[in-house]
């Protein structure tokens, strides 16, 4: 459960990070709105993930936090790519 919660936090944080990048915004045809919220997500959610992971024993907590960064990033990247493909197909 902790792994899943940390994964969701990292996934959303990295999704926010991706949506803040001009190249990705252009690919997704996204406007300039909601940057503040995305910045908060990018900064805050990794800390939430850390707090959640810290409930585990020490070496495990760090490994879970770092591991969920990688997997969460892959999921977020995959989601952004899927949306980009969909938007491209729809254009």
């Amino acid at each position: 459960m902790i792994v899943l919660a940390s994964l969701v936090c990292w996934g959303l944080a990295l999704l926010g990070h991706g949506l803040l990048q001009p190249k990705i915004r252009r690919l997704l045809h996204v406007g300039d709105g909601r940057r503040g919220m995305l910045r908060v997500m990018r900064l805050g959610l990794p800390l939430v993930a850390l707090a959640v992971s810290a409930r585990l024993d020490m070496p495990l907590a760090i490994l879970v936090w770092v591991g969920t960064f990688s997997v969460g990033g892959l999921l977020a990247g995959g989601a952004l790519a899927a949306v980009a493909v969909y938007r491209r197909g729809g254009c």
């Binding site: 990048q21 495990l60 591991g67 990688s70 892959l74």
Partner: protein, 485 residues
């Protein structure tokens, strides 16, 4: 081409990455599967599915101990692996040069359970750590490849430094093939940077004595010093193991004993690797005659635990299932990232030229390690279920099937690549993976029907679902190749 830092690092990354990558894809794929080596071994011994989960009894331990002493008196070097959450049976194991194999005992009474002989998941462990080439040259190759991986990581970070953070999630599958592969390689590489670096570093530290044989004695010396077995003790009965086991549990804690080694006149109870983050192999030695405690060996705190911590980080035998799955996903994506690197290298060198022996060879090897290895791994599982359970030398035959399939994939790759039909080669091997992977769950259900389909279903579901997942991925990949023509 200008001789500047970025182009230099590009050269270093490409060539070290490609040459080392051919070994690293094998090591990474093998290591990823070896994360679940115990579970794969159990999957490959379906007779154990009929065995209900039960705690080990003192009677079983005493019976197992008597069998081990009898084998030792015949000159065999064996030890006793105790039941654990991952493998709830007793095993009398010996090292066959590549894997720890041996009979399985019922944890309730210590009576041998008839199960097929197999190297099981340990084949992948040996492939990971030494490419099945033994502890000297094999370890040396994987060690050098591990150092090469760190070199490739550092040079890759330098090349990509400016865009490391902004392009972290940039993946454009609809872009030109070269760009799409590069995006995938970079995205997976950067996201897995902590995992890949940690695994390469800890793996390289674990086998550092291979690279610096003049400094450390290495595993061979350790094994030799530990072995000392097989000799006959003069007369007298041995103390039963159950009371000694209780003493050992008082020292290390309940459920924290992993295996028992038998020396000349002593019995050593080793703390389980799963008991602690640092894999230190603490043990308590007892007299084999009267069961009295002879001594306790514990690795202290501080720097002395560093080696154990490196092993603990790399092998994660102490980890929870969730962490093991995280490592597994990291390993799978890491292997794909390296494979994408191999493909990128080939794409770059394929442009503007019609072929050549070196390019054909490079493409053959890349295809054989990228798709040929998973194909052979699935074939290994198929061979396990299709070969008769009581066949003589069946463990060797299974291993031969694995290597013959891999050799077949290499020959097939060579035939396709040297005849200019590279894409066909990739598609055909992907099709092979798709067929073997997607059909494996059916084979499992059919070949396990007489044993007990409902018991330990999670283990079988895990292996079957992974095989099916890889099969579907390969099917999707080959369809993409058809569309991209």
């Amino acid at each position: 081409m200008r001789d500047v830092l970025r182009t230099r690092m590009g050269w270093l990354h490409a060539w070290v990455g490609f040459v080392g990558g051919l070994v690293l894809v094998v090591a990474f794929t093998g290591g990823t599967l070896a994360l679940f080596d115990t579970e794969i071994t159990r999957w490959m011994q379906p007779e154990l599915a009929a065995l209900p989960a039960a705690a080990m009894t003192g009677q079983a331990l005493d019976h197992a101990g008597a069998q081990v002493w009898a084998l030792r008196e015949k000159g065999q070097i064996v030890f006793l692996n105790l039941p654990s959450a991952r493998d709830p049976v007793l095993r009398i194991l010996h090292y066959d040069g590549h894997a720890f194999v041996g009979p399985v005992l019922d944890p309730r009474d210590g009576v041998e359970v008839k199960s097929r002989a197999t190297e099981g998941g340990q084949l992948f462990f040996d492939l990971h750590q030494s490419l099945y080439r033994g502890p000297v040259w094999g370890n040396l190759m994987t060690e050098a490849a591990g150092i090469g991986l760190i070199v490739a990581v550092i040079s890759g970070v330098i090349i990509h430094w400016r865009n490391l953070v902004p392009d972290l999630l940039l993946f454009r599958p609809f872009a030109a093939p070269g760009r799409a592969w590069l995006d995938a390689h970079i995205m997976a590489g950067v996201l897995l940077l902590p995992f890949v670096t940690m695994m390469a570093y800890t793996g390289a530290v674990i086998h550092a004595p291979r690279l610096f044989p003049m400094i450390g004695a290495g595993h061979a010396a350790k094994a030799a010093s530990r072995a000392g077995g097989g000799e006959r003790r003069d007369g007298g009965a041995y103390a039963p193991l159950a009371p000694i086991f209780a003493q050992a549990e008082e020292i290390f804690g309940r459920g924290r004993i992993g295996f028992v080694m038998f020396g000349s006149g002593t019995v050593s109870f080793y703390r389980a690797d799963a008991a602690d983050f640092a894999m230190t192999r603490d043990h308590a030695d007892f007299s084999a005659v009267d069961g009295k405690l002879v001594g306790v060996t514990r690795v202290g705190h501080g720097m002395r635990r560093l080696d154990g911590a490196m092993r603990g980080l790399h092998f994660i035998r102490w980890g929870t299932p969730g962490l093991r799955w995280l490592y597994f996903v990291g390993g799978v994506v890491g292997s794909m990232m390296m494979s994408a690197g191999l493909v990128l290298f080939l794409m770059k060198h394929r442009r503007g030229q019609g072929g050549g022996v070196m390019l054909g060879l490079a493409e053959t090897l890349a295809l054989a390690v990228t798709l040929g290895l998973p194909l052979a791994a699935l074939g290994f599982l198929w061979g396990n279920r299709l070969l008769p359970a009581d066949l003589a030398h069946r463990a060797e035959l299974e291993t031969r099937i694995f290597f013959l399939l891999w050799l077949g994939a290499l020959v097939h790759a060579a035939l396709r690549c040297f005849r200019g039909a590279v894409r066909h080669g990739w598609r055909e091997q992907a099709c092979g993976i798709a067929v073997l992977g997607c059909a494996l769950p059916f084979l499992d259900i059919v070949s396990r029907s007489g044993t007990g389909v409902r018991l330990h279903w999670d283990l079988y579901l895990g292996v079957d679902a992974c095989a099916l997942g890889f099969g579907l991925l390969a099917l999707w990949g080959q369809r993409m190749m058809v569309r991209a023509r």
